[in-house]
Structures are given as structure tokens and as C-alpha cells.
């Protein structure tokens, strides 16, 4: 029964903090978006398009952070069999994938005015695309089995292996870049950030953290309740089954 004790406590806790978290997130978005859209000057070089940064950069950060968390949750599920870890990983990866997608889309929208093209096979962009694929692979594997536990275990192994892959991708960047002359790369780190842009960026970053936390807890709650429902249904089946057997 200890299996259900922990999730139960989690659910009670979640119910308590979730309203506050949601309220804070909304507040954060209001402040952050105001600062980003009106409270900061346009860039002298990029003009208004610089405002994409306030979504793009925090989204990219969150995407990386979320994958790290998926990997850690997976590891603790495999090693310590923590009952909530699988649920956490399962809840996290679509959220992370969504952030990745947002960063990809805002990035390429930004790329059009800046680089003249939506996409280049720059090492960072490509490794980021791979991160997106890893997320999707994780989700696909979770749903690929009729036995849920099986999907969770397999996905956990994949997530951990993918974790190892992240630094490898980053590391190989040098190798790859020196090979062929890149077409037209704007060094992303090269834009120095003025303090007038720092504050909106910070506000958005904090808000994105809050948002992710809220979204993940919400999904975990849903997943746990779904599991509970399935259990109840199975118990009902069992009762029907024994009745049928008795009446035979």
C-alpha cells in the first residue's frame, strides 16, 4: 500500500499549492509581457524584432532544463523506484517538447529578418532540433506499449541515454564547424545584452519557470487520477469476473 501513500500525499500538496502557482504565473506573464513589449526600447540594430528574444531565450533555456529534469526523474525511477518519478518524467516531456517547439519556431521567425533564412544547419540549431526529436522519441516510446509500466521503463532508459548525448552534441560542435565553411552564421552569444533588456528577460525567465512547474504539476495530477480511475475500473472488472465464475 505504500505505493499509493506517496502519490496521495503529492495530490494533497498539489491541490494546496496549485492555485497560488497559477496566480503567480499569470501575474508573471502580465509583468513580463508588459516589460517585453512596451517597457523596453527597440534594439538599435534589430528594431522591434528583438522582442522575439523575450520568448525565444527563456523558452530555449526551459527546453534544456526540462530535459535535464526528465533525465533525472528517469534515473531516480530506475535506481530508487520512486513511484512519482515515472509520473514526473511522463508529465514533463510534453511540456519540454512544447518549449523546444516554441524556441524553434520563434528562433526561425527571428532568423528570417536576421539571417535572411528560416533555417541554417548551424550546430546549435541542429543540436536543438535533435533535442526536439529526443523529446518526441521519449513520448512515442511511452505510448508504444500496451503495458504502461513497460513503456515507462523503456522511456526512462532512453531518457538517460539521451542525457549522455547532450554534452556529446555540444562537444562535437567544434568538430563540425571547422569542417565546412558555415553559410552565414550569426553568433548567437555575440549580442551583448543591455540592462534595459535584462529586466524583461529575467521577468520572462522566472515566469517561464513558474509556468513549467504549474503545467507539470497539473499533468502529474491528471496522470495520477487517470491511474486511479483505471484501478477502479479493473477492480470492477474483477468483481464481474468472479460473479461470472460463481454463476457458471
Amino acid at each position: 500500500m505504500h505505493r499509493f501513500a506517496n502519490p496521495g500525499r503529492f495530490l494533497r500538496l498539489a491541490n494546496r499549492i496549485q492555485p497560488w502557482l497559477k496566480a503567480l504565473t499569470v501575474l508573471g506573464f502580465i509583468i513580463g509581457l508588459y516589460l517585453a513589449l512596451w517597457g523596453s526600447p527597440p534594439d538599435y540594430q534589430q528594431g522591434e524584432t528583438v522582442r522575439i528574444m523575450y520568448v525565444h531565450v527563456p523558452a530555449a533555456w526551459m527546453a534544456l532544463f526540462a530535459y535535464l529534469l526528465v533525465g533525472l526523474a528517469s534515473a531516480s525511477s530506475l535506481i530508487w523506484r520512486h513511484p512519482l518519478a515515472d509520473v514526473a518524467a511522463e508529465a514533463m516531456s510534453p511540456v519540454g517538447a512544447a518549449f523546444t517547439l516554441i524556441a524553434l519556431i520563434t528562433g526561425s521567425l527571428w532568423g528570417k529578418p536576421m539571417w535572411g533564412t528560416y533555417w541554417v544547419w548551424d550546430a546549435r540549431l541542429t543540436s536543438f532540433l535533435l533535442l526536439f526529436f529526443l523529446y518526441l522519441g521519449h513520448m512515442a516510446l511511452l505510448g508504444a506499449f500496451d503495458d504502461r509500466a513497460r513503456g515507462q521503463r523503456s522511456a526512462a532508459v532512453l531518457a538517460i541515454v539521451g542525457l549522455v548525448n547532450l554534452p556529446v552534441i555540444k562537444f562535437s560542435v567544434d568538430w563540425w564547424n571547422t569542417l565546412h565553411q558555415p553559410a552565414s552564421i550569426v553568433r548567437m552569444g555575440g549580442i551583448s545584452i543591455d540592462s534595459s533588456m535584462q529586466w524583461p528577460l529575467f521577468a520572462m525567465a522566472i515566469t517561464f519557470h513558474l509556468f513549467m512547474l504549474a503545467a507539470v504539476i497539473e499533468r502529474m495530477r491528471t496522470l495520477l487520477l487517470e491511474a486511479r480511475l483505471r484501478n477502479q475500473r479493473l477492480a470492477a472488472f474483477e468483481r464481474v469476473g468472479t460473479q461470472a465464475r460463481a454463476s457458471e
Binding site: T117, Y118, W119, V120, W121, D122, T126, L129, L130, F133, L136, G137, M139, A140, G143, A144, D146, W176, L179, H180, Q181, P182, A183
Partner: protein, 221 residues
């Protein structure tokens, strides 16, 4: 017709138990296509020139990868016996399998091809002819692949040899497809290649189900 629909429905259902299943082909296709900028270098001009070739080759590979289980599962669990005894003729069984394969790989690939084209910098004018060529190429791939699957099912030597005749047949199909794309890119008419493709599709459609049924009959023993 009812029986045909039932088989098609079941096989599609088996393939698409969950939403993401349909996406797997597409994802594979994109991920495989994304290997090339790494291997060949990220020069847009170079990528643009081979984009159509990569799209078609990867479509063929995706077809091959999803062929494997076309008949094996039904063979191993005894379903094939049931199908052979059903009112559906084995020719139609074969056709249903090929149709399933096309719906589950060919169709999603058509939808995904423009995305891969975009990633590989395909010239804007190249999309219509690429799609048209794929519309004609993918059914031929599914038909030939289905024949290969039927021949190798539980086959000893004989089927293998034939399977080897089939894989090389992929090449002329792909060459025709790429020829059509290249013709348009160079301002020539693609009609010749397209006509040949249509003829090939029709010929295969007439011939393959019969050949597959013959092969399947050998398997039921």
C-alpha cells in the same frame, strides 16, 4: 467489399493505436533526412541540388523499414489461415495489405516531404513536381515492397532470390521520380518520366496482387 473494409480497418487500427504512431514515419523521415547536412556539409546550394534525391531515397527507406511485419504477424498467429478461408480472395487480402502500407507510410510521407524539402533548402519551384513524383512513386514502392514481403514470408531459397530482384527494381522507380524533378528544374518537360511512372504503377497494380496471392498460397501449408 465489407470484408475488404474490415481487413483494412483492422490493419490500420493495429498500426495506429495511438496518435503518435502515425507520426513515427514522418519523424523517421525527417530525422533521417537531417543526417545529410551533417554528412555532406551545410551548404544551402549543395543541399538544394540533392534535396529531391534525398527525399525520394528516404521515402524508399521508410517504406522498406515498415514492410517487415506486413504479413509475418498474421502468418505466425494463424490469422492468415482465417483470411484464406474467408470470403475475401487472397488477391484482395494482398491488395488490402498493400493499401494499408501505403496509407501508413506513403501518405504521411507525402505530407512530410515539403517539410524535409524546406530543411534541405529545396528551391521553391521544386515542390509541385516533387509532390507529384512522390504521388506516383510511393504506390509503386508499396506494391513492390508488398510483393517482397509476401515472397520472403516463411520462404526458403526461392523467395529470397525473387526478393533480390525486387530491391533493384526500386532503383528505376526512384530514378524516374528524380528524373521528373530534374527535368522541371532544368526547364524541360517532365511528362515522359511521369507517363512512364503511371504506366509502371498501373502495370504493378495489375500484376502484383496476383503474384502476392500465389506466394501466399505457397506459405499456407
Amino acid at each position: 467489399m465489407r470484408a475488404f473494409r474490415a481487413l483494412l480497418k483492422r490493419d490500420l487500427g493495429l498500426g495506429l493505436r495511438q496518435g503518435i504512431d502515425a507520426l513515427v514515419v514522418v519523424l523517421f523521415f525527417l530525422a533521417a533526412g537531417a543526417l545529410f547536412p551533417f554528412a555532406l556539409g551545410p551548404e544551402p546550394a549543395l543541399l538544394a541540388r540533392i534535396a529531391a534525391g534525398i527525399v525520394m531515397t528516404m521515402a524508399a527507406l521508410a517504406s522498406l523499414l515498415s514492410l517487415d511485419r506486413l504479413f509475418t504477424a498474421d502468418y505466425e498467429d494463424g490469422s492468415l489461415d482465417g483470411l484464406a478461408l474467408s470470403p475475401l480472395s487472397l488477391e484482395l487480402v494482398a491488395l488490402a495489405k498493400v493499401a494499408t502500407h501505403w496509407l501508413m507510410t506513403g501518405l504521411p510521407l507525402l505530407a512530410a516531404a515539403p517539410v524535409l524539402g524546406l530543411l534541405l533548402n529545396l528551391a521553391p519551384g521544386g515542390y509541385p513536381i516533387l509532390l507529384l513524383a512522390l504521388v506516383l512513386v510511393t504506390p509503386a514502392l508499396s506494391l513492390l515492397g508488398g510483393l517482397g514481403a509476401a515472397l520472403t514470408l516463411g520462404a526458403r531459397r526461392g523467395g529470397l532470390l525473387l526478393a533480390f530482384l525486387i530491391l533493384p527494381l526500386f532503383i528505376p522507380i526512384l530514378i524516374l521520380g528524380m528524373g521528373a524533378v530534374a527535368a522541371v528544374a532544368e526547364g524541360r518537360s517532365a511528362l515522359g518520366a511521369l507517363e512512364l511512372l503511371v504506366a509502371l504503377d498501373l502495370g504493378l497494380l495489375a500484376l502484383v496482387p496476383w503474384a502476392m496471392a500465389t506466394a501466399l498460397r505457397q506459405v499456407l501449408r
